[in-house]
């Protein structure tokens, strides 16, 4: 048979949409197959809240109209969750990317899917950048100044690039463009996402490399034994969506009540450019772009200029990622046959985190060429043995990491954080003794209870996984009832809290987040009860 190109195949062999998926995708650990679904949910949340925010945003008065949004009932919940859903989306984009890089999902037949994915990453970062700059606070001014400088540095078309993205120089034209690009690029995401998703359905879900016997093409041959989409996958998707939404609501709302949140993670806009306090705010970009800011501090960057420096620092990794499917062409999915990919992946991650942390600690402090050289050279040498060791471990299927102490350690910070939260709220409670502080205390306790239960199950469950403990039928009913009861309690409380103060709105946000947690937990319970899944 003559070799067909992708377009011919897609057009001539229509595929069923949506496909049935293998049942192991809904088992424990199957969440790794759904990182893309989480991204889709965050994107939908962003689109909806973004459109609602448009009702009050005025490019002519960016800072004061952002203030208007915050002053509206539930405006702070809307704006802070819009920001944090974007952060969560970026975080999951990286997770999705790394996961697919390490399992070799870019290989045949998914090269196109991989390419659209990398482009989606770029466009998403663009949308975040423009959105972040829309508030008109000092951070937005810093971000647009840096952006202007980078765009203007392009040879020949520099001044065009600058005016296309940042307007003719007046504040109004700047913010109209920021708003325009923010929305236009979001539309681009939608279109590219549709293609990405269609290709994912067309190429089928990638089975784990083990299932595919470490050979490309790793495709899933629709097994007739797979359960249908409805209700099995629908419920699972519901569960994933609820937990994602819970995260979107709870994280920024908790940050909104905490005192002294570092600028970088503050869910609120900072002071305006004209404020006398403006100079006390460090010139931070959104954290996802910190590495670009730091990169501009390197000695070499001042020689070649910001445009070329950024092109190198963004262009090299992006170019590499774009070409991976064509560089790593062998048909093995074994990590030992893809050492270079693993190696560069870990190295890239290290550079990214390193530059970001560095940028957060020392924003704008120049870096000499020697230090810059060492920053890049040393990890190169360190990462080689580490990645070789990891490959050995993984290939030897020694996923059992002995005792689970590391898990305990990794949740300690979370527990500590929650404990501090309890402390603060109970102090507030004793101090003011108002109804709302009581509500805050109860919310925090529920949050603490849920997370410690979860942590317990995580550690304990891994240890005991051979015993395979199942909940009794009565247990399901009792928990279902408790969830329903808690939902009513939380609903009553949030209905009673007026959206008059930032703290009250944050409580509302936490309450809604908890309702989504309950929704997710209930869906999980119901799947286990009615379908014996999960």
């Amino acid at each position: 048979m003559a070799k067909q190109n992708l377009l011919e195949k897609v057009m001539n062999e229509p595929q069923p949409l949506p496909r049935k998926v293998p049942d192991y995708m809904r088992k424990k650990g199957g969440i790794w197959y759904w990182t893309g679904a989480i991204l889709m949910i965050t994107f939908l949340y962003e689109s909806l809240t973004g459109l609602i925010l448009l009702f009050y945003y005025q490019p002519a008065h960016p800072y004061s109209s952002t203030g208007t949004i915050l002053a509206m009932p539930y405006g702070t919940v809307l704006l802070t969750t819009h920001l944090y859903a974007a952060y969560i989306m970026i975080a999951f984009l990286y997770i999705h990317l790394l996961r697919n890089l390490f399992v070799g999902a870019y290989k045949k037949p998914r090269q196109m899917q991989w390419l659209t994915g990398i482009l989606l990453l770029l466009v998403t970062i663009g949308v975040v950048y423009f959105g972040y700059s829309m508030s008109g606070d000092v951070l937005s001014a810093d971000a647009t100044d840096v952006g202007r400088g980078i765009a203007a540095g392009a040879p020949l078309i520099g001044s065009y690039l600058r005016s296309i993205f940042f307007g003719s120089g007046t504040s109004l034209s700047l913010f109209m463009r920021l708003e325009g690009w923010h929305i236009v690029l979001a539309g681009v995401i939608l279109a590219m996402f549709a293609l990405h998703f269609y290709l994912a359905e067309y190429n089928t879900i990638m089975p784990s490399p083990k299932h595919a016997e470490f050979k490309v093409p790793a495709v899933d041959n629709d097994d007739p034994s797979y359960k249908p989409w409805y209700p099995y996958n629908l419920l699972y998707m519901g569960q994933v969506s609820f937990f994602t939404l819970a995260m979107i609501f709870i994280i920024p709302s908790v940050l909104a009540i905490l005192p002294n949140v570092p600028v970088l993670f503050s869910p609120f806009p900072q002071v305006s450019v004209s404020s006398p306090l403006a100079s006390s705010v460090p010139a931070y970009p959104p954290w996802i772009l910190l590495f670009i800011y730091k990169e501009l501090d390197f000695g070499i960057s001042s020689i070649i200029g910001p445009f070329w420096a950024s092109l190198i620092f963004i262009g090299l990794p992006v170019g590499y990622l774009l070409f991976i499917p064509y560089l790593d062409r062998n048909d093995s999915l074994k990590l030992s046959r893809r050492k270079a990919v693993l190696y560069t992946g870990i190295l890239g991650l290290f550079y990214y985190i390193g530059l970001s942390v560095w940028g957060a600690m020392e924003p704008g402090v120049p870096v000499s060429n020697l230090v810059g050289f060492l920053f890049f050279a040393v990890p190169m040498l360190v990462v080689i043995p580490v990645s070789l060791y990891m490959i050995k471990k993984v290939e030897a299927a020694k996923s059992n990491l002995g005792n689970n102490l590391w898990k305990l350690y990794s949740i300690l910070p979370v527990i500590g954080f929650l404990a501090i939260l309890v402390g603060i709220t109970s102090y507030m409670f004793l101090d003011g003794l108002s109804y709302y502080d009581l509500a805050a205390l109860i919310f925090v306790l529920v949050l603490l209870a849920i997370s410690s239960l979860y942590a317990y199950g995580w550690i304990y469950g891994i240890k005991e996984n051979t015993k395979n403990i199942k909940m009794s039928e009565r247990g399901h009913l009792v928990f279902g009832g408790i969830y329903g009861f808690l939902a009513i309690v939380i609903f009553t409380m949030i209905s009673d809290i007026p959206p008059t103060k930032v703290e009250y709105q944050a409580l509302y946000g936490i309450g809604i987040g908890l309702l989504f947690v309950l929704g997710g937990a209930f869906t999980k319970l119901y799947r286990s009860y009615a379908y014996h899944e999960g």
């Binding site: 009913l477 279902g480 009513i488 609903f491 949030i494 809604i512 309702l515 869906t523």
Partner: protein, 234 residues
């Protein structure tokens, strides 16, 4: 011995109980979320004024208008803004077919859409013939020149205010009440006060239905910041 959960058929009643719990949780979650969205998108009603301002009617040059500046049965449209910027009102000096002033008594005006009624203020000035009312058609909001006053001498709708958008007619001689539809709401009357020693006029408040397109007469616009409100003729 207990059966393993996979070997047991789920009981319909228990399953329904769980279904109701699930609907409840998701239901309250959705109601809780939507409620904030709804509350958020209701625009704040910014009261531009806390009470009706008292504004002297002035000419473009800032001098107050006098009775002699007003022409009886003027076929040109004379308007001024009140209570907020950009909200036109008719200023009419009404007369009979011989163009002599007619005294306009206060009258009871009924509102067909609600079945209620209110008292119109009646004419002021030396002859009791000067009246004013909103020039924003209560049907769908057309403003002059679409809506205008036709003097008693005109061939069509003599002595009436007619809106050419959809054909509503109002009677300025009896409190701007509805003559023909489609409107079912009379034009809100403006209460004028007349200072007989100075021979000047001032707008003091609106009575009757709420101005077209507003949730209240004093919100949804910007206050008039000049000393008087300027009367213009087109």
């Amino acid at each position: 011995m207990r059966l393993k959960s996979t070997e047991r058929a789920p009981d319909e009643q228990k399953r329904n109980f769980l279904k109701i719990m699930g609907t409840l949780i998701i239901g309250v979650g959705m109601v809780g979320t939507l409620r904030s969205v709804v509350q958020y998108i209701i625009p704040p009603s910014t009261q531009a004024e806390t009470s009706f301002p008292v504004l002297t009617l002035v000419l473009a040059n800032g001098n107050p208008i006098h009775t002699s500046d007003l022409i009886v049965n003027n076929s040109a449209t004379v308007t001024f803004d009140y209570p907020l910027q950009g909200e036109p009102n008719f200023l009419l000096r009404l007369g009979d077919s011989g163009n002599t002033d007619v005294k306009i008594p206060p009258s009871k005006v009924s509102i067909p859409s609600t079945g209620g009624s209110y008292q119109s203020p009646g004419g002021v000035g030396p002859y009791g013939s000067v009246v004013a009312a909103s020039a924003i058609c209560e049907h769908l909001g057309c403003v002059p020149p679409e809506i205008k006053f036709f003097p008693p001498s005109s061939s069509t709708t003599p002595g009436k205010i007619h809106c050419s958008c959809h054909g509503s007619t109002y009677d300025p001689y009896s409190g701007f009440s509805v003559v023909t539809g489609p409107t079912r709401i009379p034009l809100p009357s403006l209460v004028l006060s007349y200072d007989s020693t100075q021979d000047t006029y001032a707008a003091t408040m609106m009575v009757g239905p709420t101005l077209y397109g507003h949730t209240s007469d004093l919100s949804g616009g910007n206050a008039i910041t000049t000393k008087g409100t300027v009367v213009s003729t087109t």
